[in-house]
Symmetry: C2
Subunit: 147 residues, 2 copies
DNA sequence: GCCATAAACTTGAGTACTCAAAGACAAGGC
DNA sequence: GCCTTGTCTTTGAGTACTCAAGTTTATGGC
């Protein structure tokens, strides 16, 4: 089997393990999934803590439909609100609420702890984590750091 | 944001892009998803081209339930058959059929082409692909190479 | 031999997405 | 001002999984 294919399959496999791990921790402590967390994080990084649904979709690698469906429960529990645009009545912003921001800060702590556990131990020197970040960036997934 | 968390999120993002790409190619040319292909590939690598469903699940990172559901359509289109164990009536093997093996060989070609496209260009020297393979292996996803 | 426990598998219900279609609005040509 | 085209969003239907519960069969103590 070609190495490229091997890498792609390994990546898919690694992802499902990772998602399970984050889902378990975030779900247990905060009642949200990794997808929920990622969405909130992305909102938090946007100016004003709000974004149009299309842009959110684009930025998360989902369809607009997926964003609508993912946002609904977060609105229901008061982490996100819907805001309108004065200029364009078609657009519905998703905006972080105060509660959302506070809860997100807590989630972020546990997400970082989880990541630290994943990369703990002598198998993961900082240089290798950085190398992995670099390689994954090249692979085309838009990152979220420092935005 | 911690670099570990950043890497984890990047990986998730990269995976969804990758899966979409493979799904499009494999679906278009052979009518199967990347998940289908991975399952068939795993079967092909097992001695006798057959495996117990539990082991298949373990090896793919799915639940037994997911395997049952994923296998059904592949049995329906004749790529896989169900076999019984003479010693233990609980187990139902999944086995590649001759057709399955032939079709898999074709799928493999397009999967390798797709992987080659993903890693094409000067951004991806062979050494970096190998490095990525190594890093992902450390991350715990069980690979499929050379089994 | 019988029973308790455990393993392999399937099934029902639920979740998180996808795509395609539809509704509401915007923008530009004319 | 109207009409066409395009954009933003939601919704219906379908897919691919999950978990929990149920069935069937094996195994080991006694």
């Amino acid at each position: 089997m070609s190495e490229g294919l091997d890498v792609a399959l390994r990546l898919v496999r690694a992802q499902s393990a990772l998602v399970r791990r984050f889902d378990a921790r975030l779900g247990g402590l905060h009642g949200v999934s990794l997808a929920d967390f990622t969405l909130l994080l992305r909102l938090d990084q946007a100016p004003g803590g709000r974004m149009r649904r299309v842009d959110l979709a684009e930025s998360l690698g989902l369809t607009a439909s997926g964003v609508t469906r993912g946002l609904a429960p977060l609105e229901r529990i008061g982490l996100v609100t819907r805001e309108t645009d004065a200029r364009d009545a078609r657009v519905a912003y998703a905006a972080l609420t105060g509660t959302g921001r506070r809860r997100l800060a807590e989630m972020r702590t546990t997400a970082e702890e989880t990541a630290a556990e994943v990369f703990a131990g002598p198998a993961w020197p900082a240089a290798d984590i950085a190398r992995l970040a670099d390689l994954l960036t090249r692979l085309g997934g838009t990152g979220l750091r420092g935005r």
